[in-house]
């Protein structure tokens, strides 16, 4: 036989061995558990790995295989996981936020956990006593609970106390109004030689981060309360959107938002005095040793309802390891794990722990912002971000028109009217 023929046969045998694998004998079979989560930044990975290794020590019979997924937003993360599921590699447990809960529930991709919660009710009592009911209720779809809250975020206003002081302003109080906010924004906008060198406020073309908070404050919503139809024909919605457009073009206190505009960098460099966000800016500010910030609840308009989004770990219906999956879910919502979510100045994290005792505790007080109570305190008057099963389509339609409105290429009324028609078509109305 020629040498090259022997070589080719050798390659073929090696390929077959690698494909089939050499069977292992003798070792005890572990229960394999696959977990997928959103890796918000590479710096967050060591924290996750510590959590997983502690879980493995407590559960030596479970082999936890984890897959971190990098993405800019929840939507992109869910898209990537959807591709995994479509490719037949559905995990047992995954990290999902409000935006994906109804999608998984209504397509029966996630498994209700009411039976498991009832079975372990004694063990979970202290958890349920420590988590705000509004967070838990947001994970109920048609009366069934699909996941336990792990962490969450709301929208608050960040402000630079030094810039406020320079403008002769006192830090805003919790009961500040929309008109107070506008006055602050005007006072904090600095124009020099015809150019604006400092803006009072900055926003972005965002669903959760820009449009919904103002709608909630104006006692309205993008969708009807049951999320089955568009509410964009409500004049209060148009009024809220018009206000955001006016901040940019009428009052000129806000730069026109562009896709790549980095609000955090502009805030740190003193070009922007206020902006809206949850807890996530800490992951940018604290590593840069930037601490000139504090927060206040969203200003009151017709109401002072706060928007929030929650996340947790649903067990997928395709999982063959429900018992091991449930152990992981309970472990991930335990005090020791959620305690890590508080983070530190050196290793800040961007979510608020679901447990009240941790989110309002002494460890949280050690990390900026000083007014951290505004995070959990706002839950007493808070509503979930509207997230029907068709969230991706609803968000996409809304952001197309909201982008044109904030670019001043469409009026608020026309944009809302057109989005209203398209969203209702998607929701089957």
């Amino acid at each position: 036989m020629k040498k090259y023929q022997l070589f080719l046969i050798g390659i073929l045998i090696l390929t077959l061995i690698l494909a089939v694998g050499i069977p292992q004998t003798g070792a005890a079979k572990k229960e394999r558990l696959e977990f997928v989560f959103w890796l918000t930044s590479p710096e967050a990975l060591p924290g996750w790995q510590k959590t997983f290794s502690d879980f493995a020590k407590e559960n030596p019979n479970i082999e936890l295989v984890y897959t971190p997924v990098e993405a800019d937003t929840w939507g992109v993360y869910v898209d990537k996981v959807a591709t995994l599921i479509a490719g037949g590699k559905a995990p047992d447990v995954m990290w999902v936020a409000t935006e994906g809960v109804r999608l998984l529930a209504e397509r029966k991709l996630a498994r209700p956990i009411d039976d498991l919660v009832k079975r372990d009710s004694k063990e979970l009592k202290e958890y349920f006593d420590d988590v705000a009911p509004s967070l838990i209720d947001s994970f109920k779809v048609k009366g069934k609970l699909y996941q336990l809250p792990y962490s969450w975020n709301n929208m608050v206003i960040y402000y630079n106390p030094k810039l406020l002081e320079k403008a002769g302003l006192q830090p805003p109080k919790a009961d500040w109004t929309k008109d107070d906010f506008l006055n602050y924004a005007k006072a904090l906008t600095v124009v020099k030689d015809g150019k604006t060198i400092q803006y009072g406020f900055a926003t972005e073309v965002g669903y959760f981060t820009s449009s919904i908070p103002w709608m909630f404050a104006n006692n309205t919503n993008l969708l009807k309360d049951d999320w089955t139809a568009s509410n964009l024909d409500d004049p209060k919605v148009v009024e809220a959107v018009q206000f955001v457009q006016d901040l940019i073009y009428k009052y000129k206190v806000c730069p026109a938002p562009a896709a790549g505009f980095n609000i955090f960098n502009a805030f740190m460099s003193g070009n922007v005095a206020m902006f809206g966000a949850g807890r996530w800016p800490l992951m940018t500010f604290l590593p840069e040793k930037f601490k000139d910030f504090n927060i206040q609840v969203w200003p009151k308009w017709k109401t002072q309802v706060t928007e929030f989004g929650v996340d947790g770990f649903p067990i997928l219906s395709s999982s063959k390891n429900v018992s091991a999956s449930w152990k992981l879910v309970k472990y991930m919502t335990s005090k020791s794990v959620l305690d890590r979510l508080v983070g530190s100045e050196d290793a800040p994290l961007g979510n608020i722990p679901a447990r009240r005792s941790l989110a309002t505790g002494t460890e949280m007080a050690k990390i900026p912002p000083a007014n951290f109570q505004a995070f959990y305190g706002s839950l007493s008057n808070a509503k979930s971000v509207p997230a029907p099963a068709q969230f991706n389509k609803v968000e996409s339609i809304w952001l197309r028109y909201y982008g044109l409105i904030l670019a001043n290429e469409m009026s608020a009324a026309e944009g809302c009217a057109k989005a209203h028609q398209e969203i209702n078509k998607i929701l089957g109305k």
């Binding site: 959807a82 591709t83 479509a86 999608l103 730069p255 562009a258 982008g403 670019a407």
Partner: protein
């Protein structure tokens, strides 16, 4: 003695050798063919089949045949015309700029410079081509900031009013073209440079002796002999520009509205954000057909102006 023994033994031996050589050849091209079947032909056939199905990425078990409904749905979508018009606009502008600027840069590089200067210029033009689009888009989005961006700052020093590079439906298209051309011009200028350096110097020497001017040298010698390169780059430019995705996605996310949304972005949106794989496949097929038709047209008309030596 049988019939086979009557066959010329040399011929008999060469058939056996030919067989072995053919076998070896097939074995060597087997990995590439496997890759072609798995990654190109297979997905193409799958897309053709999927385009006739209502196929949900998350619930494939509920898929069913719907014939040409996906296509009729696409043609009745008012956004379809917008995304195709955007894409055609990008194609025409970008290919024109790739060819014209690429040729100018190549001709400038083809002059006799000190090797260090020449290599430095080549590297600076080619560097954007090897840079990650995501990184480039982040930097350009800073530069293009309406109020705080460097471009408007320097334009302001020249007395030009602020341009809403990324927040205006018209200017956002221009921004995408600027970034995409900046990113890819290195490739085109390098191809043109190779083509220019293949033109025999004797032709220019003869032309100089005949007293031709610069424009005549360019139009009668350079351009005709460079026509195969121009044709190749036009084909590549058209095909790549029709599939533009990463630059508008990273720079503007297709906005404001649908102002910079290309066909491929529309396909991605429907396939991976809305999980409607059947519809996305149908749109992909329309793009495939358009690219094929335009390529055939270009090949047909190339007989009139492409001169192969």
């Amino acid at each position: 003695m049988n019939a086979t023994d009557l066959i010329n033994p040399k011929e008999k031996k060469s058939r056996s050798v030919q067989c072995k050589e053919a076998m070896a050849g097939y074995l060597f091209i087997f990995p590439t063919m496997l890759g072609f079947l798995i990654f190109i032909l297979g997905p193409m056939l799958a897309a053709i089949i999927l385009s006739c199905f209502s196929w949900d990425l998350l619930s494939p078990q509920e898929s069913h045949f719907i014939g040409l409904t996906n296509f009729s749905r696409f043609f009745s979508d008012p956004r379809a015309a917008a995304v195709y018009l955007n894409t055609f606009f990008f194609v025409i502008c970008e290919v024109g700029l790739f060819i014209s600027i690429g040729l100018l840069v190549a001709m400038a590089l083809n002059r006799t410079f000190h090797p260090i200067i020449q290599y430095s210029i080549k590297i600076s033009y080619f560097f954007p081509y090897v840079t990650s689009t995501a990184v480039a888009a982040v930097i350009w989005s800073f530069l293009f900031g309406t109020d705080l961006g460097a471009v408007n700052y320097y334009l302001g020093l020249l007395g030009v009013n602020k341009i809403p590079w990324l927040t205006s439906t018209d200017w956002a298209k221009v921004s995408v073209i600027i970034v995409d051309v900046w990113k890819n011009i290195g490739f085109y200028s390098l191809m043109f440079l190779a083509g220019l350096q293949n033109i025999p110097a004797q032709l220019y020497e003869a032309a100089n002796i005949d007293g031709v001017n610069g424009w005549q040298r360019f139009s009668k010698i350079t351009l005709p002999l460079l026509s195969p390169t121009v044709f190749f780059l036009m084909i590549i430019g058209f095909i790549n520009s029709f599939q533009i995705f990463d630059t508008p996605y990273m720079l503007t996310r297709g906005g404001p509205g649908d102002a910079t949304r290309s066909v491929v972005m529309y396909i991605y949106e429907h396939g991976f954000s809305f999980y409607d794989m059947g519809f996305a496949s149908a749109v992909g097929l329309t793009l495939f057909v358009i690219i094929i038709i335009l390529t055939i047209i270009q090949f047909h008309f190339s007989k009139n102006w492409v001169h192969y030596r």
